[in-house]
């Protein structure tokens, strides 16, 4: 039997060499770092916690990619912009004035809830508009066409918000009761990280309930399974797809608030890199699967925070932290080459992959 790709043999050999050399580099770097032992256990613990917090953010954004991919088989390239638009707008109009008037420090919980809801509303609004204008008319077009409009939408929103709210970095206010650390297992965790992790867990549980237990969730799952049959069963497919975008964008809106809490800065370009990384997370976990997005986000976050110090430092690479983004992109490429179905994903049919 000849395989799908004519003379696959050379290609396979090449890919094997790539795989082997990466494994060798990683193991060599890890061993060298461990022998060198530059960090205390406490520092490793910090890396770990930061990785989990970062991974939670990726997971929340990745949900949006996974849900949309599940129903439309389309990479919603503009999803990073949904994430950015919510928190960027909310910071300028609500968070910064609220902090200046002192309201945010007096009522941090109420303030944060207002910020979260506003951020969600803006993200959802942008998502619904994008879906209505750029994606819905192209449902039947060749598959590259909606991808191209998604890229266009992404650049459009970035620069729209740049023009609307200014191109400079805006500081997200620091909330007095969230500064400082929280003791846990003999180490100190930043309170913001605790908030991020807890909020993510709550959101994920809520989402799981929504998708698995409610009627709308059932509709989303059936549309993901087969649009035509779902339509025959009396499900309004267009409406369900819009709801899918709404859910994904709401998650992204919350992720935006958490991101701003951790990094305390917002700007028009903040959606791009987290967007691509969250997409990586979604693919890593297995695109189309919600637990996959969560697991993928976590794994990617951990790799990114521990990776540079673990494999790259041992190789004596100068300024190894510069290569943090390379780790994420390399992982994306490697997964897509060697395990396109991701960690928990099913093997997708040719048509979907």
């Amino acid at each position: 039997m000849r395989s799908r790709l004519g003379n696959l043999d050379y290609i396979n050999v090449f890919l094997w060499i790539v795989r082997a050399s990466i494994i060798v580099v990683v193991i060599w770097g890890t061993v060298a770092t461990i022998l060198d032992n530059p960090y205390s256990p406490r520092q490793w613990m910090d890396f770990l916690v930061f990785g989990v917090a970062q991974g939670s953010l990726y997971a929340l954004i990745a949900i949006g990619y996974t849900l949309v991919y599940g129903v439309l088989f389309m990479i919603n390239f503009a999803h990073g912009e949904f994430f950015m638009s919510g928190i960027f707008t909310t910071s300028v109009f609500i968070a910064i004035p609220m902090s200046e008037s002192g309201f945010l420090d007096r009522n941090p919980v109420v303030g944060l809830l207002i910020i979260a809801v506003a951020s969600m509303i803006v993200s959802v609004g942008v998502a619904v508009l994008t879906e209505r204008i750029a994606y819905r008319p192209l449902r039947k077009a060749p598959r590259l066409v909606p991808l191209i409009t998604a890229i266009g939408a992404s650049f459009f929103w970035q620069n729209f918000f740049r023009g609307l709210l200014g191109s400079e970095n805006k500081p997200f206010p620091q909330i007095a009761s969230l500064t400082g650390t929280f003791p846990l297992l003999g180490t100190e965790i930043l309170k913001t990280h605790v908030v991020v992790i807890i909020a993510t867990i709550i959101m994920l549980i809520g989402l799981n309930f929504f998708i698995m237990r409610t009627k709308t969730g059932k509709a989303i799952r059936s549309v993901a399974e087969d649009k035509d049959i779902a339509a025959l069963m009396g499900i309004d497919v267009d409406r369900t797809i819009t709801i899918t975008f709404v859910v994904g964008a709401a998650m992204a809106g919350i992720a935006g608030v958490l991101y701003a809490l951790v990094f305390r800065q917002v700007h028009f370009f903040m959606g791009f890199i987290p967007g691509i990384k969250a997409f990586t997370a979604a693919v890593l976990g297995g695109i189309g699967s919600i637990p996959g997005a969560a697991i993928g986000g976590l794994v990617l976050g951990l790799f990114e925070s521990i990776g540079p110090s673990l494999f790259l430092q041992g190789l004596h690479i100068p300024a190894f932290n510069q290569l943090k983004d390379v780790i994420a992109f390399t992982m994306l490429v490697l997964i897509l080459i060697f395990r396109p179905q991701g960690i928990v994903g099913e093997v997708l049919a040719e048509k979907k992959a």
Binding site: I11, I75, L138, V145, I151, G152, G163, F320, L323
Partner: protein
């Protein structure tokens, strides 16, 4: 009948509202304010005004297009839509007069409001705006009432007069160099067209349009009636004239415009390359800038006279190596993505592009390619004892590269390999079943695309004589993608048109450069929705993207036959 008129009116209302929201958005992001600084016709028309009225005029004319030519109704619809489109702006004017919005939205400033309310203050200005917008709507409707053969020349006259006005700063500069300042001042007021000249120009273009539309059929018939030998000769003659024009172009353009032409040329090169990958073979590559960077860095390292230079080759010796290195990189990066399709391919290639940029920026490769400080002192191409330093001279190097690339692309598109790529684009499985070797075919597409881009990068490095990692951002890939989509995927003239519009315009007009990416994004969406085959489509592509309509037409026809 009344019912359909009501629904048409509702449609017009909605179009007006959408136009209003668009105008509000372009005002709020600062475009109107910035564009208002550019005068098209002295003392009368600025680019900002065009930006305010154009969405209304455009959407109204789209909305009334389907209505029958019933003057009162069309005009009424235009009036309604125009008036509605003023409402969002009036809200903005009133709001701004009550609250200072600048702390939130830096571009909503008193200056903007002054442009919108025509300097008449909030109350009177709002009414004036309402009136003017209604007039714009009525005018757009009125165009629809005119018969086609009159409407078209008037539109062309309007459009070309405005285009000449848009470029008046540059044109007047060129006229001054050739015919003296007096002549230039006769036509232009320094930065804009003189109103009287604009009127004359408008009438001349209308006249020419009417003349041409009367003659077009006859000329076409005359050409198609020629014997084949003569027709070929005619075609060669036209090609020769075009070539001659390209050769003497730098003399007409002068130094600054030649530099712009050089940038356009580099993007034409990259566009031709990406056209092979995306347009012919249908592989959406978003990391195309990687090969551009590889070509540029190869040229830099091979020819630099600075401390990072390795080969100390001359430009001409280095060029083949740059192309070869880029082509090899194309193959190496192509192998892992052989099995991916469509969107996954796009994201992975985007990842490659970013990896290359981050690596170029990193301290790890600093000893070889300079990190953030880049590579300096890259040599210019020597020619007959002198170096081609000035843009007018370098133009010929780029022109040669573009002509070579265009020739290769054209030959490829007609070759066996080109047809294999197109088969691959249509359907991979079927292509394989027809005996096309997917691996070789795909890798060749990547290699050719990368080679063109590498050549572009090499020329870019030599043109600037120093390169830095920040020149190789994702934006470049997107820019190239947009230009081939605007021109029409798979179409060679389309690439040139796309590059002229998308690279040339922002270089010449600062305000376009400021909002370049915003417009690219919007253009991508609008093009995909309205004209996915581009402005100058290749025949194959046109058929492919409108396949559904054709099938519908055929089915409709057969259904009719069945009915008979």
């Amino acid at each position: 009948m009344a019912d359909t008129f009501r629904s048409q009116l509702r449609q017009a209302l909605r179009s007006g509202l959408i136009a209003g929201v668009i105008t509000l958005s372009v005002s709020a992001i600062g475009m109107v304010r910035l564009f208002a600084e550019r005068e098209l016709i002295g003392g009368a028309v600025t680019m900002g005004q065009i930006l305010i009225y154009a969405p209304t005029a455009l959407l109204v004319s789209l909305a009334v297009r389907k209505m029958e030519r019933n003057a009162p109704r069309v005009l009424l619809a235009g009036l309604v839509a125009g008036a509605v489109s003023a409402l969002p702006l009036i809200v903005l004017i009133v709001f701004e007069s009550l609250v200072d919005l600048r702390q939130f939205m830096p571009n909503i400033s008193p200056e903007l409001v002054e442009i919108l309310d025509l300097g008449l203050g909030p109350a009177v200005g709002s009414l004036a705006l309402l009136g003017v917008m209604s007039l714009a709507g009525i005018a757009a409707g009125a165009f629809h009432i005119l018969p086609d053969h009159i409407e078209r020349p008037i539109l062309q006259g309007l459009l070309w007069t405005l285009v000449v006005g848009l470029f008046s700063e540059i044109l007047s500069g060129r006229l001054r160099d050739f015919f003296g300042a007096g002549f230039a001042r006769l036509i232009f007021t320094g930065k804009a067209l003189r109103p009287a000249v604009a009127l004359v120009l408008f009438l001349v273009i209308i006249g020419a349009g009417l003349f041409w539309s009367a003659r077009r059929e006859r000329v076409r018939q005359y050409i198609s009636a020629l014997p084949p030998r003569q027709r070929t000769r005619l075609r060669f003659g036209a090609g020769g004239l075009g070539l001659l024009f390209l050769v003497i172009l730098p003399l007409l353009l002068g130094s600054y415009l030649s530099e712009v032409a050089n940038n356009v040329g580099i993007f034409v090169l990259m566009g031709l390359g990406l056209n092979i990958v995306v347009g012919f073979a249908g592989l959406l590559d978003l990391g195309y800038v990687a090969f551009f960077a590889i070509g540029a860095y190869s040229m830099a390292v091979l020819t630099s006279e600075g401390p990072l230079g390795l080969g100390h080759l001359t430009f001409w010796e280095a060029i083949p190596f740059c192309i070869l290195i880029a082509a090899c990189a194309g193959i190496v990066l192509g192998i892992p993505v052989l099995r991916m399709r469509g969107d996954y391919l796009a994201i992975v290639t985007l990842g490659f592009g970013e990896i290359i940029r981050i690596l170029a920026l990193s301290d790890m490769l600093k000893p070889f390619i300079g990190g953030a400080q880049g590579v300096l002192k890259i040599s210019k191409p020597p020619f007959l004892g002198t170096a081609l330093i000035r843009p007018e001279q370098f133009y010929y190097v780029i022109l040669a590269g573009c002509l070579l690339a265009a020739f290769v692309s054209w030959k490829l598109s007609e070759s066996r390999l080109g047809r294999q790529w197109m088969a691959l684009r249509e359907d991979e499985d079927v292509a394989e079943a027809m005996g096309i070797r997917l691996v070789t075919t795909k890798l060749l597409a990547f290699a050719f695309g990368a080679a063109f881009s590498g050549l572009g990068g090499a020329l870019f490095a030599s043109k600037l004589t120093s390169i830095f990692p920040h020149s190789f951002k994702l934006e470049i890939s997107i820019n190239v993608l947009v230009l081939i989509i605007i021109g029409g995927m798979g179409s060679l003239p389309g690439v040139v048109i796309g590059a002229l519009i998308l690279v040339g315009m922002p270089e010449l007009l600062r305000e376009f450069a400021e909002y370049r990416l915003l417009m690219y994004g919007a253009l991508l969406v609008v093009m995909m929705l309205a004209k996915p085959e581009g402005f100058w489509p290749s025949a194959v592509r046109r058929r492919e993207l409108h396949v559904d309509e054709e099938i519908l037409a055929i089915e409709g026809a057969s259904a009719l036959e069945g009915g008979d």
